[in-house]
Symmetry: C2
Subunit: 398 residues, 2 copies
């Protein structure tokens, strides 16, 4: 049994659904009406913010429901299990699932704050970013500091504000920042630009790995969805099932990885670390082999570092994670055994809750004990600087 | 030595550069001035057609040059080795390379005729499509029928004309048609639409596999290139090296594969076959595992076939190929040993010419003899209905 009782699962990708008072409890009075608040529309709970209405998509809170009942329609809070939005109930759900610690990404703000990035009133948007960070770190994580890993979002539209907020959250205990999987679809400079250098400096100095969650840059992959030409914003193939995009989401992170490997930024910031959240790992061996192949042949006529082989850069700067990736797990040594982590994805549809630990044990059945420890716990604790609190008995022995 | 002398390499992805008279020799007199012709500009050879000037990009004819001399600048015919544009010289180059047969995609027309798809004068464009097909089948392939596999492009803008041309070229010996890796970036209906059904019917009836070459739909992958929002047509990250796009080209074919697997068309046309040209194979195990995972969980609320598992559909309808894909080769049984082929990519920059056979022997060093025969020769001959001409002695024993 390679997944032993003393192995604590530290998940690097989970999600929370914000309760209705996250912003109403924190915004100055003059912004409360304009700030995010929950209204009832046609019997559904919807967010209202910045003159727009946003559904609480049902597919993002399916934990506890059989696949036959999943759907994209908006839902009410009562339709979700309380662990979606209540940190105490979540701990009970994690206990049931055999999971020790969770790193939760936002829902309404988008995985990296894209909702606030797109908003009109930037003074309010900055306050909303700070309010979410305060909510997650001071309210949610504080209920069980050993069980939740503090993460923060950033005001991506303003590099100076990004730097200030990154310093502020680092000082109050954040262990990682969530950043768009690519800034380009948000209209921002790419990873190749010097624009982000001051942020990479702070992240390097403060030991803040950058969590890149697929979709956090608002880009939907696949030829059949709205991100592809010729008419941006239009669903180009209304007959394509959304399952195509769900299958392909990791291609965002393939693109991101290759952008960063050829950007020169990893050499410029030797301490900078990137976590590929919800990207899977089974594609990594192919992409590294291909990156090296192209680097060998095409670095002569372009601005490309002659000395740093892309696959070496990957193993010094990237961390991958998976839920249920048998091919990736089998090829773990081509990826780097000290660079692979587990994710649970509660309460989203990829999650195996309440059988995450059981399923992980199946996927890791052929993996030796010491490698298992790295994958389910030690790599994540090292990346996040989130050490185990020593206890006489393992908290989750089962 | 697993690659034996009697194994003939049949490559399913090579390229030719059209000589200056391909269209001038074939178009009716009234269209000759407007049809594609070569002019000299600043000492370079350029195509003029449809009111525009097109370079003959140097990177597309690098065979025989060391990587230190590669570049994206236009070139003159004299800068290329004759095997780029002369079928007799090409046979000598293939002999030197240890390759028996080649399937050549067009250059000036785009891999699937995109240049003609975008042209204003559609009467001329249709004649240009037919002229290329006649040139390749009647002039190029006819010089050495055992060495060249006939392929045809289609007038993609008109489904009725597509059907007529597919029937015409099938009757004159075409073994495959080249089709855009996705029609969507060309402004055409997606693979999910019924629009293409008449073409799939002809391809099924005539045993014409559909060759999908990456980039043939004009889409450049990656967050840093012109195909990504927010401003279509603009290079969004001018500081990104083109090596990023070269590394990622196969993500086009990942998208295409998943579109087709969830389209229902493979069940509707049980004989329909797709060849993923220049896509590599190392990503296939991950994509199939991921497709099955999503299919297991997400088929309840969408229009998705309940009975056909995506990975089963892949092994009945798709063919992959590779040049130098160690990860893919190692995992060949997860892909399907009877579905993998070799490509040479002459005279492009991925090619190992004149060491293609030598390199293939290295990549296949651990592969048993019978599997080797499938990969380098028999699978391609079966897909293309291009049987070996029996000779007392192998033509290419070396």
């Amino acid at each position: 049994m390679p997944l032993r009782d003393h192995h604590q699962i530290v998940s690097v990708d989970d999600h929370l659904v914000e309760h209705p008072r996250v912003w109403q409890d924190r915004l100055p009075e003059k912004f409360r009406e304009a700030g995010p608040r929950i209204v009832e529309q046609d019997g559904k709970h919807m967010w209202v913010y910045d003159g727009q209405t946003f559904p609480t998509v049902g597919l993002n809170a399916v934990a506890g429901k059989p696949p036959e009942e999943w759907g994209m329609d908006p839902v009410r809070y009562e339709d979700m299990i309380p662990g979606c939005y209540d940190p105490k109930a979540r701990v009970a759900d994690m206990d049931l699932d055999g999971v020790q610690s969770a790193l939760c990404f936002p829902s309404f703000p988008g995985f990296a704050g894209g909702t606030f990035h797109r908003a009109q009133d930037k003074e309010l948007a900055l306050l909303c970013v700070k309010a979410w960070n305060d909510f997650y770190i001071d309210e949610w994580c504080a209920t069980a500091p050993e069980r939740y890993v503090p993460l923060a979002i950033l005001p991506t539209w303003d590099i100076d504000a990004c730097v200030s907020e990154a310093k502020r959250v680092a000082a109050k205990g954040a262990r990682t920042v969530s950043f768009p999987d690519s800034p380009v679809p948000l209209g921002l400079p790419s990873f190749h630009s010097d624009h982000w250098d001051p942020l990479w400096q702070v992240c390097s100095d403060a030991h803040l790995p950058v969590s890149l969650h697929f979709g956090s840059g608002s880009y939907v992959p696949g030829f059949s969805f709205s991100s592809v030409k010729p008419v941006p914003g239009e669903l180009v193939a209304p007959d394509a099932p959304f399952a195509v995009a769900i299958t392909l989401f990791s291609s965002n992170l393939m693109w991101t990885t290759v952008d960063l490997l050829f950007s020169g930024k990893l050499q410029q910031f030797p301490q900078l670390q990137f976590s590929l959240a919800e990207g899977g790992i089974g594609w990594v061996p192919y992409i590294l082999e291909r990156s090296d192949y192209v680097w060998e042949r095409h670095r002569y006529y372009q601005s490309i570092d002659f000395d740093a082989r892309p696959s070496d850069l990957f193993r010094e700067h990237f961390w991958g994670c998976f839920i249920d990736d048998e091919h990736g797990c089998k090829n773990r040594h081509e990826i780097g055994i000290d660079r692979i982590m587990l994710e649970i994805d509660f309460p989203h549809s990829d999650s195996n809750w309440p059988n995450s630990r059981k399923r992980a044990a199946e996927v890791l059945a052929e993996v030796p004990d010491d490698e298992c420890a790295l994958i389910v716990e030690e790599n994540a604790r090292r990346m996040l600087n989130f050490p185990r609190v020593s206890t006489p008995e393992p908290a989750l022995a089962r």
